[in-house]
């Protein structure tokens, strides 16, 4: 079972290292992690995806809460939330293949963000399933490089994490 944990932290040096070393010291693997500022420039949000059963997750959440620079920890998996990931894909695009690739990009509501004589670089946003799907679709054309952001997530509706 994968869990998506949203963590509000003090925007200070060393906080990422504290979180990362907590995971590594306990032998927990991080599947993805993304960090960015919130509305309050002193507070950052980390979205962490971790595999693990309930008992492991309960420990992770408790250990995170023990860190002084961590303001709030929520396991979003128990709630209704939206999550998105962005990926940049550089794919081989010979002139004969271009229209087919454009077609696929269109279906996935992606964008071509860079063009060169032999390549397209494509930007796609979506949940994990959608991103995995377009990667599968583009693989036959020859994917040269991929950069994924890792997941960002937010509670749906009126729920607010920092309340």
């Amino acid at each position: 079972m994968k869990h998506t944990i949203s963590v509000l932290v003090e925007n200070k040096f060393g906080v990422l290292a504290r979180v990362a070393s907590l995971f590594s010291a306990k032998g927990y693997n991080i599947e993805s992690l993304s960090v960015g500022e919130t509305m309050d420039p002193d507070v950052s949000r980390m979205t962490i995806v971790v595999p693990g059963d309930e008992a492991i997750l309960e420990q992770i959440v408790k250990q995170l809460r023990r860190l002084i620079d961590i303001i709030k920890v929520s396991d979003l998996t128990q709630n209704n939330y939206v999550d998105r990931e962005m990926v940049l894909i550089k794919v081989k695009a010979d002139p004969s293949m271009r229209s087919e690739i454009l077609n696929i990009v269109d279906i996935f509501r992606g964008k071509i963000v860079d063009v060169s004589p032999r390549n397209y670089t494509i930007e796609i946003t979506g949940d994990r399933g959608k991103i995995d799907a377009i990667i599968t679709m583009l693989t036959p054309f020859g994917i040269k490089d991929i950069a994924r952001t890792g997941k960002v997530a937010m509670l749906r509706g009126l729920q607010e994490q920092n309340k």
């Binding site: 003090e10 040096f13 290292a17 309960e58 408790k62 860190l67 002084i68 620079d69 303001i71």
Partner: protein, 567 residues
Amino acid sequence: MFRMFQGMKMTGARILLECLQREGVEMAFGYPGAVTLPLHDEIEDLGIRFVLTRHEQGAIHAATGYARATGKVGVCIVTSGPGGTNLVTGIADAFMDSVPVVAFTGQVPRLMIGNDAFQEADIVGITRSITKHNYLVQDVEDFSTTVRSAFHIAKTGRPGPVLVDMPKDTLMAETEFMYPEKVTLRGYNPNYYGNAMQIRRAAEAIGRAKRPVVYSGGGVISSNASEELRSLVHQTSMPITSTLMGLGAFPGDDPLFLGMLGMHGTQSANLAVTGCDLLIAIGARFDDRVTGALDSFAPNAEILHIDIDPSSISKNIRVDTPIVGDIKLVLTELNAIVKGGDYADWHQQIAEWKREKALHYEKSDHTIKPQHVVETIAELTRGEAVITTEVGQHQMWAAQYGIYKHPRSFISSGGLGVMGFGFPAAIGAQAGCPEKLVIDIAGDGSFQMVVQELATAVCAALPVKVVILNNGVLGMIRQWQDLFYGQRFRHSVLRHQTGTYYPDFVKLAEAYGAVGIRIKSPGKLKSQLQDAFDTPGPVLIDVIVSEEENVYPMVPAGAGISEMLVE
């Protein structure tokens, strides 16, 4: 009186010292280096005693011993690089045993950080996972809030060590001194008051139980909740056992006390925990040395757990009724409503265990038994001394055969198990409690890890007594080799290859200007110990004890705690 300095221009070093004074710091332990010289230049002018140890490890253990004996925050000041790295063991010990200590380390100037400068080490990175929190002072402006927060974090909630790393240029730079009235840390708000409904459920469980046992730990001492624990137990007549860290919170000579539980616990304590229908864990953390195999630990019991640290709850053992809060406050609430149930059959069973399965060892007229030394110390001091220990067999005998009546009277490295902890901890305890008799019960192995601190005890006039249970071997290692490694005693013999006890501890003590005494005969043990305790100044007592003695009961690694070896 302090207000007049507000707004005055001062160096970072002076600001730090002013802050220490406002935190009520009376003394600091440490070792100087080039980076921290500005502090040494001024610290005693502010009325803060500085105890110079002979190694930084001694300084951090002394600060820990001071904190554990007095309940105040221990302070340690050392230099950059090796000064900081030499603290690592002591910081890890304070972290495992939840001791409020603030360690100040010098750092190279900010512009040189990361350049492999002389005596540079990333001590904030190194200690990240063994401190409750740590800081690198990045600007002289940050000194006062950093120091204030460091003390606040160290002593509140579940206490722990905090490290403050201070680049030399921030110590030398000047700014206006502004002492913050309040600390605001939005990510740090310990929960002090237990949930009232949970407390009611706990009281009901205690009333309903037939075979309850209280399992109390070091958290009771940290929370200064010894009185409240005694009230709970006496009000309900529940039997009580204790962890190593909790000894002294409840009087060791009380009829309701079962002794310590766990790997070297008493049979009555381990059988009671295994047979109980309600286990009330108070400020304890279900450490593996306590629980043994998890699936046979208190298998039929409902489990209550009172602790200030939510991450201790259900970590190793699933808890039925957790109460997160300060033990003193929670027990005060609980005591107001709790009533004991009918435990008559249970008390009868326990009395039988206590009678038939008491601790015992074979007495001897010609060799001194180590257990006998501990019993004699207990008899002579009547539970009024502060006892520290190193780690190993002597530590377990001190826990089993000593009688501790007061909180903060038994100080031992429980979680990390640091050999060489007890002597510097005794020095710190003595510095904090000058009126008390402070005794380090040591082994010949452990003591040699910190032997240089004899100089600290002598020069700082701290009259600690060190009783070495000298068996010429690493006793606990020898015991495991005896029981589990076919009696192949490899690398555990400390005597000289000629067979003589080595080194000569009496001469060693004399070389440092302390008094050295050797005790060899069981008949003279009591009188010689008494003489040693009556001798002013630091005294090292080398007691030659039998080598073959093992610590029993013993729960082999991986077994349940009711499966004890008893001989």
